[in-house]
Symmetry: C2
Subunit: 310 residues, 2 copies
């Protein structure tokens, strides 16, 4: 059973220590759809683009069986455009310019067949819109969402109402601290779980990701490493690629048991590690299944150790 | 076969978000000896203390079979004294005051039986002294060392000469970048390996540690997680406790093969995780072997995942 993703589709102008690129196809929904499409068939993408967008830019997603029929074209404006720069610290982007354009009035409506799907990912958009979308769903098995400091600080009460209705929250380390008002991540995760989601994933960029999950009263913690890469070209979209691998795998297996959550964390880490190897979605377009399986084994090799005979 | 550690013995005045403590027994050699003593018998500690030091402060180490006979007492001055403060970011200490005292003229001389031991750890001291000590050793199997930004920036050439003669370098992330003049850690580790040590351990505080090892032309990378702890009392000495667990285990097993290095990384992580749970060496004093074995299994549980049937 497939997954619906609602979020941004964008053009990104990017400056990294390795180069400069303009009008690279990006956006959270795009990165998520590309990554999740390797794990689950018929990913449904909901977003909006402007009159400057050529729909065949999404052909690589269609080839991967992504349903882009609900990507609205708003002829009254231009596509969401983000300009960002990364210095030597590739963990932190500096936003140079954000033009929301048609994304500013985006109001996602799910068709009846999308509403009946069991899984939903709400990428980082206004928490009021996120709640509006999740209320359209007809008995979903789980709902996952992302957010950002802008909403945590600017629309906290609305965000808390949305998070209350969500099963899985993906959030980065700084945002987890901001949302929970707690520096210690173990305590922060527990505070966030009390807000609603039983599964909290804390993304830490080049340091990997932590999973805090409470299923049937069993609380557990899993630490996923990041793959140390000798070349990082563009970190944009790494978090959404992680979400795509993580939630795509969970949708594929259909359970939230400990074994699946742990495997999903590695699938997320694998997809994020590919994402950063090229600008935009370029790496995803060249990827095949053998690459993913090989990298999964690389992650296992990276962390493997045995219990000694003390 | 046992290990010699040469380094500081100190009194620390500590301020952390959880409390304030004065004249806590610390210093790199102390933390290292405490941690390594759980893995290898008869750890030899070389350092200097002043007239204000009560030798029975080291009784807990003697009880753990640490040989403190070569801790010099310099009656002409006071013991090395460090004052530091940690804010909410426990990864970073703010030094309020450093009084080197008798440590300023410390000139370690190894006795003949110490010189014949197979393993040496040079904690963070002047690289000229480090080289002086390592040259006193009689055919050691391996030599490990630590350093800090102060020497990397202030005595780079001397430090490079010392590092050239060392097999294992333990260094934190910021220092690795400073030493290699390279931001990417995979490239930084390779540059440092070219300086001499075949084993480079990059410590990342609450994010764990990375191992880069080249044994018999096989290059490999291992990522050790840090245990997410709900209470961190005092991070002082975590790096030296890590080194104690890591090198203590390597001395115990007597090899630098891949399996042992990976296990040693977890032993280091285990000891660092205990160290931060109380001020100074307090947690080490209450620790028993069952605690260590249990926590080792906690680390395995923290990172365990299976290869899925894709």
């Amino acid at each position: 059973m497939s997954i619906v993703v609602v979020g941004s589709i964008a053009f990104d102008d990017l400056e990294t220590p390795t180069g400069k690129r303009e009008r690279v196809l990006g956006g959270a929904a795009t990165h998520f759809a590309a990554a999740s499409s390797f794990f689950v068939e018929g990913v449904k993408m909901v977003g909006v683009v402007g009159h400057d967008f050529a729909m065949n830019d999404l052909d690589f997603l269609k080839e991967r069986d992504v349903d882009v029929s609900q990507v609205q074209i708003n002829k009254d404006g231009r596509t969401f455009h983000w300009k960002g720069r990364y210095g030597n610290d590739l963990n932190e982007a500096q936003t140079l310019d954000t033009q929301l354009n048609v994304f500013a009035t985006f109001c996602p409506e799910l068709t009846e067949d999308f509403q009946k799907l069991p899984y939903l990912f709400l990428a980082n958009i206004d928490p009021v819109l996120q709640r509006n979308v999740l209320q359209q769903m007809d008995k979903p098995k789980w709902i996952a969402c992302d957010t950002m400091n802008f909403w945590i600080e600017g629309k906290r009460d609305e965000l808390l109402k949305t998070i209350e209705a969500v099963d899985i929250l993906l959030i980065n380390e700084t945002e987890a601290r901001l949302l929970s008002r707690e520096r210690n991540l173990v305590k922060a995760a527990a505070i966030i779980q009390d807000m609603g989601p039983s599964v909290v994933v804390i993304k830490r960029g080049e340091y990997g990701a932590l999973l805090f999950s409470c299923q049937e009263s069993v609380q557990e913690t899993f630490s996923a490493p990041a793959l140390p890469l000798s070349s990082v070209i563009d970190p944009t979209g790494a978090g959404d690629s992680f979400a795509g691998g993580f939630l795509g795998y969970l949708a594929r297996v259909g359970t939230l048991d400990s074994k699946s959550l742990r495997q999903a964390m590695i699938c997320g880490s694998v997809m994020a590690s590919f994402n950063v190897e090229a600008f935009g979605c370029e790496r995803m377009q060249q990827l095949n299944w053998a690459d993913i399986a090989n990298r999964y084994r690389q992650f296992q090799q990276l962390i493997h150790f045995e219990i000694p005979n003390f």
